[in-house]
C-alpha cells in the first residue's frame, strides 16, 4: 500500500498512521451551462479540492447548500467524471466510468444517499434490495450463505430480529429503518470507504443520533473510512474526527473537528459556527459581522471567493486566491490572514 502523504492540506497536519484509503487531489468539476447564452460558460462547482480519507476515520465535509459538497462525494464515487484532478484509491489513481472496473471500484467505495424515501425502490422488498447488493458484489454465493449474509447485514444495522424486516417493502418501514436498510445495502459490498451524503438530514430529529451512532459503531467494527457530508456543523463535531469546511466550491478550512468548531480560523467558518443555534449562549449574542449570500459559481468573485462577505477582507483578497496556510492547532485555512507577516485584525480570534 502506498504510504504517500496528501498534498498541502493534510501533509503537515495528520500525525495519525492510519493508511489513506481514498484521496482527492486538486479535484475540480465544472458543469457546462446549457443554452444559447451559456456558451462557453461553466458552473465552477468544485475547485481544486484536496481530501484524504483514512482507515477508521470519519471526515466531515461541512458547507451551505450549493457549496459543492455533494459534488465532491459524487466525484469520489466516480458518478461524475472530474474536469481535472485525481481520485486515488489506496494510492492508485482511479478513473472508471462503467463496466467491470466501475463495479470493482464500487465494491470498495459505497455511497449512502440523503433521502431513504427516494433511494430505495418502492416496488422491491428489503430481501431483494440486499440480495442484489450481495449477488452483484460477491458472485457465486450459495443459497445458505446468502441467507446468513442477509441476516448478518440486518443484524449489523440493528434491525432485529431479521425475519421481521426481511420481507417488508420500504413503505412499511419508518424513515430511520429505511436509512438503515440503505446502510445495510452499502455494507453488502463489504466496502472500505463509505460516502454518506447527508445521511440523517431527512430523518426525524429524535432518531438522527441513532443512525449516526450506528455509523460510528460500524466504523469501529469494520474499520471503515467515512466521509460524512452535512450542513450541520454541530453534528460534524459530534461524529467526525476531522472536519473540512467548504465554501463556494473550495475548501476553506480543515483540521480536527474539535478545534475547527471550537476555535474556527477562517472567517467563513466563524460565520458558520456563530450562526448555528446555540441555546447556551443566550445572553451574549454578538453582532455578527458577515452578511450577504454565497456567490454565483458561474462567475465566482476573483481572488478569495469569500471576500465580498468577509469582514476582514484586504486588497490582496480581491485579486489573489489564498493557498492553504497553517492556522495553528494543526489546522489549515485558505485565508490570507494566516500568511506570514500579516497582522491579525482584532475580532478574528473567536472564543469557543
Amino acid at each position: 500500500m502506498a504510504q504517500r502523504e496528501g498534498p498541502a492540506t493534510d501533509a503537515a497536519t495528520t500525525p495519525t498512521e492510519d493508511p489513506i484509503m481514498l484521496e482527492a487531489r486538486a479535484l475540480t468539476k465544472h458543469f457546462p451551462v446549457r443554452g444559447l447564452r451559456g456558451r462557453g460558460k461553466a458552473v465552477r462547482a468544485v475547485e481544486s479540492v484536496d481530501l484524504t480519507l483514512r482507515r477508521g476515520q470519519v471526515v466531515a465535509l461541512v458547507g451551505e447548500s450549493g457549496s459543492g459538497k455533494s459534488t465532491v462525494a459524487r466525484l469520489l464515487a466516480q458518478l461524475y467524471p472530474a474536469t481535472s484532478g485525481q481520485v486515488l484509491l489506496r494510492g492508485e489513481p482511479v478513473k472508471v466510468r462503467f463496466g467491470r472496473r466501475f463495479r470493482a471500484y464500487c465494491r470498495q467505495v459505497q455511497m449512502i444517499f440523503q433521502d431513504p424515501f427516494a433511494s430505495l425502490n418502492p416496488i422491491h422488498t428489503v430481501r431483494y434490495v440486499l440480495t442484489r447488493s450481495l449477488r452483484i458484489h460477491h458472485r457465486g454465493l450459495s443459497k445458505e450463505e446468502l441467507e446468513t449474509r442477509l441476516a448478518g447485514l440486518l443484524e449489523q444495522v440493528h434491525l432485529r430480529p431479521a425475519e421481521r424486516y426481511i420481507d417488508k417493502f420500504p413503505h412499511e418501514l419508518s424513515g430511520g429503518q429505511r436509512q438503515r436498510i440503505a446502510i445495510a445495502r452499502a455494507l453488502g459490498a463489504r466496502p472500505t470507504v463509505l460516502l454518506a451524503d447527508e445521511p440523517v438530514s431527512m430523518l426525524d430529529v429524535s432518531i438522527r443520533l441513532g443512525v449516526l451512532n450506528l455509523l460510528k459503531e460500524l466504523k469501529e467494527e469494520l474499520d471503515l473510512a467515512i466521509l460524512y457530508i452535512t450542513h450541520d456543523i454541530a453534528s460534524a463535531r459530534y461524529f467526525a474526527d476531522r472536519t473540512v469546511v467548504m465554501y463556494a466550491g473550495e475548501v476553506v478550512e480543515s483540521g480536527d473537528s474539535e478545534s475547527v468548531t471550537q476555535n474556527p480560523a477562517h472567517p467563513y467558518t466563524q460565520l458558520l459556527v456563530s450562526s448555528a443555534p446555540d441555546p447556551d449562549k443566550l445572553a451574549d449574542a454578538a453582532e455578527r459581522p458577515a452578511r450577504g449570500e454565497p456567490p454565483s459559481l458561474i462567475k465566482p468573485p476573483s481572488g478569495c471567493r469569500f471576500h465580498p462577505r468577509c469582514p476582514f477582507a484586504m486588497d490582496r483578497c480581491k485579486t489573489e486566491s489564498p493557498p492553504s496556510l497553517p492556522a495553528g492547532d494543526g489546522r489549515v485555512a485558505a485565508c490570507w490572514l494566516y500568511a506570514e507577516g500579516v497582522e491579525k485584525p482584532a475580532g478574528l480570534e473567536v472564543k469557543a
Partner: protein
C-alpha cells in the same frame, strides 16, 4: 440587530393556565382534528389547548407528523380536506379594539376580511409560495388592495417598498420576479407580505427549514427586531428545538397530536419535565461545551393510525411505569412551588407514588433567568 429581546415575563397563577402577561390574543381550546371520516379517521390533533399572549413568541416543536402544521392550519381554518375539525374553539381577541372573534363561527366574508388583517401565516416552503409569473411588488400590492381598497395605488406601492426595506431587501427589487431573488430573499418577501397589514398574530410554519444556518440566523434576527418594533405575536413552528430556545418566550412540545409539555423556553431547556422533551433536547449534539455520547430517543415516531393505548410515548419512554400503557395522561399544571406557568402530560408528575428520575425532577432552587 443581534440583541436579545427581553422575554415576556410570565406570572404565576394557581391554575397554571393562561398566564402570560398581557392578555391572550389567540386562544385555542380543545381543538381536535381528524383526517378522513368514520372509522378510518386518523386523529391528528386531540384536545389541544394553547394560549398565545400579546407580543409573545410561542414556539411549537415536534417531529414530523406530530400535528404541528395541522394545528396551524386548523386554527386559521385553512385545513384542506380530508382534514376535519371535530371539536374545539379558536378565539381571537383583538388587542387594538374590543373585537372578539370566534373563528369557527365566522362567515366566509368575515373570515376573508380577518385574514392578513388580524392574523397572517407564513407557509412552510414559503420560498415556493410566491407566484413565479408576477413581480414580487405586484404580489405585495395585491394583498393591500384587497384589504385597503380606499388607498391609492401609489400609496400601496410606497408601502410595498417600505415593507421590503423593513425586511432588509433593497426597495428597488420591487420589480423583480421571484426567480431573480435568492431563497432567503424570497422568504423575507413572504414575511414582508405577512406583515403588510400589521396583523396582530403571525403564524410561521417552518419558515427557515429550507434555508442554510447563516440565512436562518439573519431571518430570525430580523423577525425578532420586527417583533420588537411592531409588537405582534408569533407562533413559530419548527422541529429545531435549539433554535426555539433562543428565539421563543414559551415553547409547546407536541407528540402524536397532543401537546405534552408547555413551559417557558428557559424552564423547558434547563428543566425539562417530560421524558420526550428531555430526549428531544438530547437529540441535538451541542456545538459547545463537553463532548458526550448522546443517544437520541429509541424506537420510531408513532404511527397515528395505530397509536399505542395510554400515553402515546410509553413504548419509547425509559421511565414508563404502571399507568402509562392504560391511561392517557392529561396536560395539566404541575402545581408545584416555583413552577410558574408550566404544564406537562406525564404520570411521573401526576401524584403517583413513584420516584421521579433526577433529570426530570424539579430543581430545588430554580436558577435565575439569564437574560
Amino acid at each position: 440587530m443581534g440583541q436579545r429581546v427581553n422575554k415576556v415575563d410570565t406570572a404565576v397563577t394557581s391554575t397554571g393556565h393562561r398566564a402570560a402577561v398581557g392578555d391572550p390574543v389567540l386562544e385555542i381550546r380543545n381543538l381536535s382534528v381528524d383526517y378522513g371520516y368514520d372509522d378510518s379517521a386518523v386523529h391528528a390533533l386531540r384536545d389541544v389547548s394553547l394560549t398565545l399572549g400579546v407580543g409573545e413568541v410561542l414556539g411549537l416543536a415536534g417531529e414530523s407528523g406530530c400535528g404541528k402544521s395541522t394545528l396551524a392550519y386548523a386554527a386559521t381554518r385553512l385545513l384542506p380536506p380530508p382534514g376535519v375539525i371535530t371539536g374545539g374553539d379558536v378565539i381571537f381577541h383583538s388587542s387594538r379594539d374590543d373585537r372578539r372573534l370566534d373563528l369557527f363561527a365566522m362567515s366566509d366574508d368575515q373570515l376573508r376580511a380577518s385574514r392578513w388583517d388580524d392574523m397572517a401565516i407564513v407557509f412552510q416552503g414559503a420560498m415556493n409560495s410566491l407566484n413565479p409569473v408576477y413581480r414580487v411588488g405586484k404580489q405585495l400590492i395585491d394583498v393591500m388592495t384587497a384589504h385597503r381598497p380606499d388607498r391609492s395605488r401609489g400609496q400601496h406601492r410606497a408601502r410595498a417598498k417600505e415593507l421590503l426595506e423593513m425586511v432588509g431587501i433593497s426597495p428597488d427589487r420591487i420589480n423583480s420576479y421571484p426567480h431573480q431573488l435568492s431563497g432567503g430573499m424570497r422568504q423575507r418577501v413572504m414575511i414582508a407580505m405577512a406583515l403588510a397589514l400589521e396583523p396582530q398574530v403571525v403564524i410561521m410554519d417552518e419558515p427557515t427549514t429550507a434555508l442554510d444556518v447563516v440565512m436562518q440566523r439573519q431571518i430570525v434576527e430580523q423577525l425578532v427586531k420586527l417583533r420588537n418594533e411592531l409588537g405582534f405575536s408569533v407562533i413559530f413552528i419548527t422541529h429545531d428545538v435549539s433554535l426555539l430556545i433562543e428565539l421563543a418566550d414559551r415553547i409547546a412540545i407536541m407528540y402524536a397530536g397532543q401537546i405534552i409539555e408547555d413551559a417557558t423556553a428557559d424552564d423547558l431547556y434547563r428543566r425539562p419535565r417530560h421524558p420526550y422533551t428531555y430526549g428531544l433536547l438530547n437529540s441535538f449534539p451541542p456545538l459547545h461545551g463537553p463532548r458526550r455520547e448522546l443517544s437520541g430517543i429509541p424506537g420510531s415516531p408513532p404511527d397515528l393510525t395505530a397509536l399505542p393505548a395510554g400515553c402515546p410515548f410509553h413504548p419509547r419512554c425509559p421511565h414508563a411505569f404502571d399507568p402509562c400503557d392504560g391511561k392517557r395522561p392529561e396536560l395539566q399544571g404541575t402545581g408545584r412551588e416555583g413552577e410558574g406557568h408550566r404544564q406537562v402530560a406525564c404520570f411521573l408528575h401526576d401524584g403517583y407514588e413513584v420516584a421521579v428520575p433526577g433529570h426530570l425532577a424539579i430543581a430545588p432552587k430554580p436558577r435565575e433567568k439569564s437574560s
